[in-house]
Symmetry: none
Subunit: 195 residues, 4 copies
DNA sequence: CATGAATGAGGGTTCATTCAT
DNA sequence: GATGAATGAACCCTCATTCAT
């Protein structure tokens, strides 16, 4: 069991190290050697836990995507729509705020990353946008969402959110707290006719 | 004159090829050899026109940034603010729409690119956002912009614009035309109190 | 321990190979690939032991210079000057004779070598010549050295020594033994009996 | 005739440029491009006058060697030997002093230069040394040269001369004039008066 | 003859991956 | 499991040489 724990530890140490290196150097400048060193293991050990260079970063990205997806509530149109949207904004930001540097990678367009990440990230994007779009369409028939192309509206909303998160580090921590409030207000006044 | 034309041609063929390769493979996977091949010249020829690998990509990025900057009108607060904002949205989108794949690189966060690009791109970002923020602040004192943190509002607006451009290829060309209209409307209803 | 021995071995095999290649091809024609091959390792292995191409040659040159310097006794003017000079000639030749081809590189003017070597070699030269010059000046005040410009005399002596070493391979081994004796005699007496 | 003169001019301009570049950069760092530029012609023009990179440097070296050889008088043992030796020293130094940097290349051991030069330079060396050695042997039978291995003695003499020339730039011009006198005296007398 | 744009072989260096211990 | 020495494919860049104009 100690052994099993130790194994766990090494795997996680590697993941943590990989995240740091990814954030500091970017995928291509990240060296297996440095990840291993920061994790306190030998280079060869890396390959006991991960198939190749791509694998560890894929796992980091997949993990974040999964955490976002599980934080978002499937919108129930019979309940308070505004509350649900606000909750999803808040929840998404909360997950991303746990690790802003990593968030930046997942939120950004995929240029410069390998095809493997591109796919994962793109899938998440499409998923989030189409979910939101559908929600907005439902909202329109209920009369609580303004007229307009819901795909585009969803896009705008996601873009505003992404930018906010991407730049949130540049803001002082004080302003960061306003972010959720302001964003919700912005989205509401833009296309929501809540009450 | 023929000679001069040939030179021009090769330089431009290389730039075009580099753009394609950059878009398809990302900066790090882009091989000089492939750029040269696609441009129909030998590898050595590349170095007659560009100092090193970075140079050609820097030129692509700088060029787009310059085109965007020169397309944006400095906002005159005594004139019709809404019209000016709409014009800037339209103009920016127009420039970016000339080359969406390249746009994606300039608009995205800079992960995966070399420090050289990061700087250029970041400078543009900061410039655009702070320009917009200042404009909004002026708008607030004139009473045509809603209350709120103008830095955040500027961020949201830029984010929405970026996302729109980034995803504009996924939209059919028909819907792409709606983009400007919808975005303008979205921004107006969100924080502009025009009329 | 076996491991440590292997490491040592490879490093030394590389140094030996580099010496051979340097002697046979000169610095610029020397290829890392060939050094590695002759040492029986892969090209990449070279870079485990030496930072870059220059490093291995610098080490060879530095090593020889150091061996020469530690073989030379600082001249004590109160003791037998002739004996000391003879000893220094003998000791220098002995060190250089351990590896005549390498000696040729250190003794020669520095054309064709990189600035890095030039410096080391020049420093040694200047050091040896000025040491000898000072000794001769002391010798003059003691009356055991002839009148004359001691800088020039030191130069002549070093030149004769260098040439002797450089050409010593062309001599049969038998004659090589005479070298020290003859050189000492030459320096003492000259060889022309004019008038 | 004008044309012929112009051709001559270009060839000579290239040779002059090549000498400068060779002296400043060494053979391997010398670029055809720079030679052509300094000569005020296009790169392609170089190849109208010289077969390849090696050719122009070979010509420079051959020229200097030829000038040295024609300046040396074949020693006539029936005439004043001392005078002839002094003349040869003087003449050799005079030729070399016309172009000390180039001299350095010809006098130095051949490491770092291409095989082509090595051969020329070595041939000259062997020629000079064996000529001198024969002269000394003759001198011995006439009783004007001391006992000893004449090959070695010739070597020492040439070495002293070479070193003197190689370092002559470091000396002030005043001291450079002493060089011939001192060297002749050195060869006659040696400089140690031990016992 | 003169030009200089074009070529492409060649070599130094990096780093993901393997494998014997 | 753990190690880290060894490997070699990959890629940027230089520069001697050619040749169409």
């Amino acid at each position: 069991m100690t052994t099993r724990t130790r194994e766990r530890d090494k795997r996680e140490a590697l993941l943590r190290a990989a995240r740091d290196v990814l954030v500091e150097e970017g995928y291509h400048h990240a060296k297996i050697d440095e990840i291993a060193q920061r994790a306190g293991v030998a280079k060869g050990t890396y390959y006991l836990y991960f198939k190749d260079k791509r694998a560890i970063f894929a796992e980091l990205v997949d993990g974040l995507v999964a955490r976002i997806e599980s934080a978002i509530v499937r919108v129930d149109e019979r309940a308070d729509l505004g509350a649900q949207v606000r909750h999803n904004i808040r929840a998404t930001i909360a997950v991303l705020a746990e690790d802003p540097p990593l968030a930046r990678i997942v939120l950004g367009p995929t240029s410069g990353l390998d095809a493997a990440f591109t796919d994962t990230v793109t899938r998440m994007h499409v998923g989030v946008v189409s979910l939101l779009s559908r929600t907005l369409r439902d909202g329109q028939s209920l009369g609580v969402v303004a007229e307009g192309d819901t795909d585009l509206l969803a896009m705008f909303a996601v873009g505003a959110l992404k930018e906010a998160v991407l730049r949130s580090e540049e803001l002082g921590p004080a302003r960061r707290e306003q972010l959720v409030t302001e964003l919700a207000r912005f989205l509401e006044k833009g296309f929501l006719r809540l009450r």
